[in-house]
């Protein structure tokens, strides 16, 4: 078991003939992901590396291959359109890697998704991986190993650091989900924590949050009422100045709820273990898991 993706997930890559699209499609194939189709309008009928058929549209790709997940590398000006195209074909899971999509485009995309069962991860995210089964994203696959810890994060390389620390200690991961660094995006921290909570393979949860918004508080509220799984959290940006965008479009403190202090307080209040140093993520997860066993 795992969440969102497993070895039966059939993936279409939108923007497969672009530089990033082809590079990462190959890396996912090498990891063992079932990349069954690619989409680039105007390149229908061709193939990537003689093995992945390319179509002009997601609808055609779905009809021909039965793909149920999409991985998007379309540039920012056309990425919202690509998400909507995948949603129009009722693709179950859309993972959008693209960084730099205008926020008001994402507001409209989210409104359209309200009426659908399609789930969106990202944009501006590393994607999702279920170690040993399926990687839909740009994370380095080999640092992961199968195991009991579910990771949900607003960051990319900081998540790799956390995974590294866990794997070095021999602690594997059930699934790792990078929800993305934009202010308006798909699945939130709380929704992914809920999925991990229901997933029997996940025995502990690691939340990696950062400044801006109040998703951490929402996740904390859910956890208090519904979750019994040991959980730890790290929050980046304690030293970030207010009002400045720290790389991620969504990493900006615009109100009291956006500060690391407020988020730590929310986690503390419900009893989620807060990790104060990014060097101690692996150790903290070992501790919460040991405490749960004893």
């Amino acid at each position: 078991m795992s969440i969102l993706v497993d070895d039966s997930t059939r993936v279409v890559v939108q923007g497969i003939t672009g530089r990033a699209g082809s590079f990462h499609a190959r890396a996912c194939l090498d990891y063992g992901t079932r990349i069954v189709a690619g989409v680039t309008p105007g390149r229908g009928g061709q193939k990537l590396d003689e093995r992945v058929p390319i179509f002009d549209s997601v609808a055609e790709a779905k009809q021909a291959t039965g793909c149920n997940a999409s991985l998007i590398f379309v540039p920012a000006s056309g990425a919202a359109d690509a998400i909507l195209e995948a949603a129009a074909s009722d693709i179950d899971l859309i993972v959008c890697i693209t960084e730099g999509i205008p926020t008001l485009d994402m507001v409209r995309v989210r409104r359209c998704l309200e009426d659908k069962k399609t789930r969106l991860i990202g944009p501006n995210c590393p994607g999702v991986i279920t170690p040993g089964q399926c990687k839909i994203g740009i994370m380095p696959g080999y640092i992961h190993q199968p195991g009991p810890v579910g990771i949900v994060s607003r960051s990319g390389t900081l998540t790799y650091e956390a995974v590294w620390q866990l794997s070095q200690r021999g602690i594997g991961q059930s699934s790792c989900v990078g929800i993305g660094g934009d202010p308006v995006h798909g699945l939130g921290l709380q929704e992914v924590v809920e999925m991990f909570d229901r997933d029997p393979a996940t025995k502990a949860i690691l939340v990696i949050g950062e400044i801006g918004g109040c998703e951490e508080q929402d996740a904390a509220t859910f956890w208090k009422t519904s979750s019994r799984k040991p959980t730890a959290a790290f929050l980046a940006g304690a030293t970030a100045p207010a009002g400045r965008r720290m790389g991620h479009a969504g990493a900006v403190i615009t109100g009291a709820a956006g500060t690391v202090e407020a988020k730590i307080a929310a986690f503390d209040k419900v009893g989620i273990s807060v990790i104060l140093s990014p060097a101690e993520i692996g150790e903290a997860i070992s501790k919460v898991m040991a405490a749960a066993v004893s």
């Binding site: 990319g156 202010p183 991620h248």
Partner: protein, 396 residues
Amino acid sequence: MNLFEYQARGLLGRYGLPIPPGDVATRPEEARQIAEGLSKGPFVVKAQILAGGRGKGHFRSGFAGGVHLCSYPAEVEEVARAMLGGVLVTAQTGPEGRPVNKVLVAEAPQISRELYLAILIDRGRRRSVVVGSAQGGVDIEEVARESPGEIHRIWVDPQVGFWPYQARTLAACMGLCGSLLPQTADLIVRLYRFFCECDASLAEINPLAVIENEKIAVIDAKIGLDENALFRHPEVATYRNEVVEDGREAEALKAGLNYVGLSGEIGCMVNGAGLAMATMDILHRYGGEPANFLDVGGGADQNQVTKAFGILMADPKVRAIFVHIFGGIMRCDVIARGIVEAVTHTKPKVPIVVRLQGTNFEEGKAILHQSGLPIRTADDLADAAQKAVAAAAETR
């Protein structure tokens, strides 16, 4: 990207919002000429910085206040002379303050009532929200705390849009009636049109004021634009260079680097925004202070590493450089070669601490060692941060 008040006035003026006439000046004489060209006093002179609290701020020179009312053009010139070239410190700028290179000179109408109006993105509900209050001219977060019932919000369904009846509803909640009601509703509709058409992230009018003859007017405006959408707004993209107040940030912008200047002494170069923030945080934990946030990106190449070194070394406050890279797709041996190349070329005069982790990190470390360059390395994040803090301390 936040705009200066004078830029915000220019943009809102294009959408027909009522704004008291005025213009921006870079010289005291120019400020006087603007006042002479306006129909009547009193006039207001406002220092143009990207921070609030200007009225209660003070200049390094001792001159009090970044917003002044003047009766005569000669007085306008005098006040402008005191402000221009000065450094204004307010509750929001930090002790270092911000340089004042421009002042806004405008007519200052009689104000009988101050209101609040804003449009922003509600991240939780994933929609735009139009916010109005009868309590204007004050800190809105304080109003939200003290009297939340005084704040009225209308969330906009993006599939339906924002309609005049909603604007009238909000204006009525703000306590407006008579001829002020349709005037304000029209203003709100125009502000919403601006917000969508220009891809704003924030449009805040505080105060929105009732002035002489039962007219409504924009007295101060704060506008934030979505940087992600600048590609489709060439007309405002040029503002970007004007709004950078920090010289280091201006250089970084030219080099295409994601950089935020801070006041510490450890220059940081990190790949990924979250890891870059976490790196700042851990330096702070060990008693160090970062000089900057710098994300060279997940796919940083040698060229970017070289550029980033240039920016860090040009900062006179930097006493040590901390390079922290988690190699994912980008291999550590490639990054290490970039670092060796950059250090050989730029010859930094401060110690350099490097932590490479992830793909091929051992090869990366070997390349750094074999280069014979004075580069200190560390495997563990805590160890690396401590080394960086110690390196900065020893050059003090």
